[in-house]
């Protein structure tokens, strides 16, 4: 069963963080008509063995964390996106065509180990 972590370590646990992608920062505003940017988010944090069952973890992460516990040379399970969603982009290409296209896996909705 999961061992409750203290408040300080909770901050370091695997979870979703906000990341806004501003196309102006990338110099892409010249060709992307819309959106101007989007909240892409990212995953970051630790996946300790004691919490692998409660951090939206895969069975694989549990096994990896278990192995890390007995053999520290095995790396810890990592915090990764477990649910992603698409965005639509409206842009102009080099032939002056206006294109509306949907791109999969652009926004992190959920993270897990």
């Amino acid at each position: 069963s999961a061992i409750p972590a203290n408040k300080a370590s909770c901050k370091n646990l695997c979870h979703r963080h906000q990341l806004f992608i501003n196309f102006r920062d990338l110099g892409w505003q010249k060709w992307i008509i819309a959106p101007k940017g989007f909240m892409a988010n990212y995953c970051h944090g630790e996946c300790p063995f004691s919490l692998t069952t409660s951090l939206n973890s895969s069975n694989y992460a549990f096994m990896q964390a278990l192995m890390h516990a007995v053999d520290p040379e095995t790396p810890q399970a990592v915090c990764i996106p477990t649910k992603l969603s698409p965005i639509s982009m409206l842009y102009q290409d080099n032939d002056d065509n206006v294109i509306l296209r949907h791109y999969e896996d652009m926004v992190v909705d959920e993270c897990g180990c």
Partner: protein, 234 residues
């Protein structure tokens, strides 16, 4: 070195997005209402968390995951005796189709002709719009010979925005790019031109030449990203 690495990474990612390089548009094209609406509907669905079928375009009633609006790259043709002839406007329409990749299947090609807001009200003389498929190469800016044109559509009293289904034509152009010789658009004056309506006619034709805007809306389905719809069992 860091800059080069970033450029390389950007190139790889743009290829993944279906682009050969960072686009640098020469001039901004107007975004048609339908593309804006589809984009806004998708954004709203993303916010509310509703399920989305990214491989169909509900608003247009077709399967597809990439929508392209191709601008007309053609030009006006001027007859020396235009004022005496029954022609009000002649234009060659040309759309650059090679932008469509091999893995994509064309599911819709709709020609949009916007004749401008003025055509809703005072059309003046009775006009007729005729759209032809150009079947033989022309020399320079010459007007296509009548025998080398295939009549696609004829619209009496054209006004506002007109749409034409050109899916079969676009498929043929896409399979045989050398056949893409464009379309010939002509707006004709019906009946005899008498001197009384001539002034009004010239004004109407000039307004049409000024306001006419043509574009081809193309919808494609990428077979790698979307599976073909399964047939219903009887």
């Amino acid at each position: 070195a860091l800059s080069q690495t970033l450029q390389f990474q950007e190139y790889v990612f743009l290829q993944f997005l279906g682009l050969d390089k960072v686009p640098s548009p020469q001039k901004f094209q107007p975004v048609p209402y339908i593309l804006k609406k589809i984009f806004q509907d998708r954004e709203a669905a993303a916010i509310t968390g509703g399920s989305q079928d990214l491989c169909s375009v509900k608003d247009l009633g077709v399967r597809g995951n990439v929508l392209r609006l191709l601008p007309d790259q053609g030009f006006y043709l001027y007859s020396k005796n235009l004022s005496q002839a029954s022609s009000c406007l002649q234009k060659l329409l040309y759309f650059n189709l090679p932008a469509i990749k091999d893995k994509e299947q064309l599911t819709m090609a709709q020609l949009g002709l916007d004749l401008g807001p003025n055509t809703y009200y005072n059309l003046g003389p009775e006009l007729e719009l005729a759209l032809f498929l150009v079947q033989e190469p022309r020399v320079g800016h010459s007007i296509p010979k009548p025998g080398k044109l295939f009549v696609l559509k004829s619209v009496p009293w054209p006004q506002g925005v007109l749409h034409f289904n050109l899916l079969d034509v676009a498929k043929d152009w896409n399979n045989n790019p050398q056949k893409n010789l464009g379309l010939f658009l002509e707006i004709l004056v019906k009946g005899d031109r008498d001197s009384g309506v001539n002034f009004q006619l010239e004004d109407t034709c000039a307004r049409l030449r000024h306001s006419l805007h043509a574009s081809l809306l193309v919808v494609t389905l990428n077979s790698e990203q979307c599976h073909p719809s399964s047939r219903k069992r009887r």
